[in-house]
C-alpha cells in the first residue's frame, strides 16, 4: 500500500499514535482547565473519569445502561432476523424480488431516524418504542444486504449444484445463503452503529430511562460532565458491539478474510 520511501521507522509507528492520543487528552485537559474553566460547559478528562467512577460505584447508572442495551439489542435481534429471513425469501423468489427489492431501495432514501416521533406515538414512551424503532431501521439494512448477497452467488457454483441434482432449497441453503453471508455481516456491521443511534434518538424524544434520556436530562441541568460520561459509555458499548460483529464476520466468512 505504501511506497517504501514514505515509510517510517518502527519506533515511530509505536510512539506517534500514543503521542496523538496524549495530545488529544492533554489539549482537552488544558482547554478545560484554563480556557473554558467551567465544569458545567466543558469538563476535563479527569473530571469525566471521576464522574464515571462515581456513577458506576453509585449504581445510579445501571438502569440507564440496561434500558439502552435492552432497547438496542432486542430491536437488533428482531430487525436482523426478520430482515435476513425476508431477504432470503425475496432474493430467491424472482417475482417478489422484482417487485419488493426496488421498493426497499426507494425507502432507503429517507433518513430512518425521521420516523422516530411517529413510532413513539404508536408504541408509547417505554422501551417498546425503542425496540420497534431499532427493529424497523435495522430491518431495511439487513433486508437490502441479504438480497444483494443472494444475487451475488457465483454462477459457476450454482451451475455445479444444479448439475449434481441439488433441489431448489438445497441450493439456497448450501450455495446462496453461504455466499450471502459476507453481505449479511457487512449489513450487521452497519447495524451495530445504527442500532445505538436509533435507540438514543428515540430516548431523546420520549423515555423514562436510557443513556439518551440521561444525556437529554443532563443537558437541561447544564451538567456537561454527566453528558460526557453517558456518551463515553455509549461509545464503549457501540464500539464493543461493532468489534464483536467484526470478529464474527472474519471468523465465519473465513475464506475471504484469511489473510488478515
Amino acid at each position: 500500500m505504501d511506497n517504501s520511501s514514505t515509510d517510517v521507522p518502527v519506533w515511530m509507528r509505536v510512539v506517534l499514535p500514543v503521542l496523538g492520543i496524549a495530545l488529544l487528552l492533554g489539549g482537552w485537559q488544558a482547554v478545560a482547565q484554563w480556557v473554558v474553566a467551567d465544569v458545567a460547559l466543558l469538563p476535563s478528562p479527569v473530571q469525566v473519569a471521576a464522574t464515571l467512577t462515581a456513577w458506576i460505584s453509585g449504581g445510579g447508572f445501571t438502569p440507564h445502561v440496561l434500558a439502552t442495551l435492552q432497547g438496542t439489542l432486542t430491536g437488533l435481534a428482531i430487525g436482523v432476523s426478520l430482515g435476513v429471513l425476508a431477504g432470503i425469501v425475496v432474493g430467491e423468489v424472482r417475482a417478489l424480488d422484482r417487485a419488493v427489492y426496488p421498493m426497499a431501495l426507494a425507502l432507503q432514501a429517507m433518513p430512518m431516524v425521521a420516523i422516530a416521533p411517529l413510532v413513539i406515538v404508536w408504541f408509547g414512551i417505554g422501551v417498546a418504542s425503542k425496540v420497534a424503532l431499532v427493529a424497523i431501521g435495522t430491518f431495511f439494512v439487513m433486508f437490502i444486504n441479504t438480497v444483494a448477497g443472494m444475487h451475488a452467488a457465483p454462477p459457476a457454483l450454482l451451475d455445479m449444484a444444479r448439475a449434481f441434482g441439488g433441489n431448489r432449497w438445497r441450493i439456497v441453503l448450501t450455495v446462496k445463503i453461504r455466499s450471502a453471508l459476507d453481505y449479511v455481516f457487512s449489513g450487521l456491521e452497519v447495524c451495530a452503529a445504527l442500532s445505538f443511534i436509533l435507540c438514543v434518538v428515540g430516548e431523546f424524544l420520549a423515555a423514562n430511562a436510557g443513556l439518551g434520556f440521561y444525556v437529554r436530562a443532563a443537558s437541561f441541568d447544564i451538567n456537561a460532565a454527566g453528558m460526557f460520561a453517558a456518551v463515553t459509555v455509549l461509545a464503549v458499548l457501540a464500539s464493543l458491539l461493532a468489534w464483536l460483529t467484526r470478529v464474527a464476520h472474519h471468523r465465519l466468512v473465513f475464506w475471504k478474510y484469511r489473510k488478515h
Partner: protein, 260 residues
Amino acid sequence: MSTVIQVLRGTAVRVLPLVLLVALWWAVVRGFALPSRLMPAPLEVWDRIYAGLVTQGDLWPHLATTLMTTLGGYALGTVLAIALGSVLAMNRVLELTFYPIVLLIQSVPKVAIAPLVLLWMGFDTRSTIVLVALTCFFPVFVGTFIGVRAAPPVLLDLFRTLNASTFKTYLHCNLPSAAGSIVAGMQVGWGFALVGCVVMEFIMGMGGAGYLIDNSANALDAVTAVAAMVLLGVMGFAGGSILQRARARLVFWEGQVRHG
C-alpha cells in the same frame, strides 16, 4: 422507435416500485383500518403535501430551513474531511499521529452528542450546522484517505522521476485518482447529514422538517408528520441522484466498469 420504447421502459422500471409502494401502503392502512391520526393513507398525505407546497405553502419555511442548514453543515464537514483526509494520506508521520484521534472520535455515535452541541452553540442554526458537519465528516474522510492512498504506484514513480513537488503530485495524481472514492464518501455523507439535521431539529424544536415531524406526531397530526417524512425522503433521494450524476460526469473513466 426503439429508443422511445427504451425510454418508456426505463421510466416504468423507475416509477413502478414507487407505485407498488404506495399501493402497499394504501392496502395496509385500509386493510387494518388504521386511523389517520396514527397512520394516514397515501392520498391524505398527497393532499397535505399539495396544500403545504402549493395552495397554503406552510411547509416551505421548514423545508428551506432543513435544506439550508443541511447544505451548510455538509459543505463544512465535506471540505474539512477532504482536507484532513488528503493531508493524513500524503504524510505518514501526521497519519500515525492523528489517525488514532479521528478513530477515537469516530467511535462516539455523533447524534448522541447533539444535546452537548446544543449546550455549547446555543439554540441557533449554528448548532445544527456543527452537528451536520460532524455526522457527515467520517464517510468523506475515509473515502478521501483510501482514494488518495490508492493512486497507481507507476504514476507516483513517474511523478518522482520528474521531480514533482508533493503538492503537485497530490494535485495531478492523487486527487484525480481519489475523485471517485471521495464522491462515493460524499454520497454516504449526504444521508448522514440529513440524519444529523433531523435529530438536531428534533431536540432544538425551532423549525425545520425534523421539528415539524416531532411536533405534528405529538399533536396526533400524523398526516403532516408523514408528509414531512416523504419530503425528507425526496431531499435524500435528490441529493443522492445529483451526486451520482456528478460522479459519472467527474470520473467518467470509472463509468465503464460499473454495471446497471
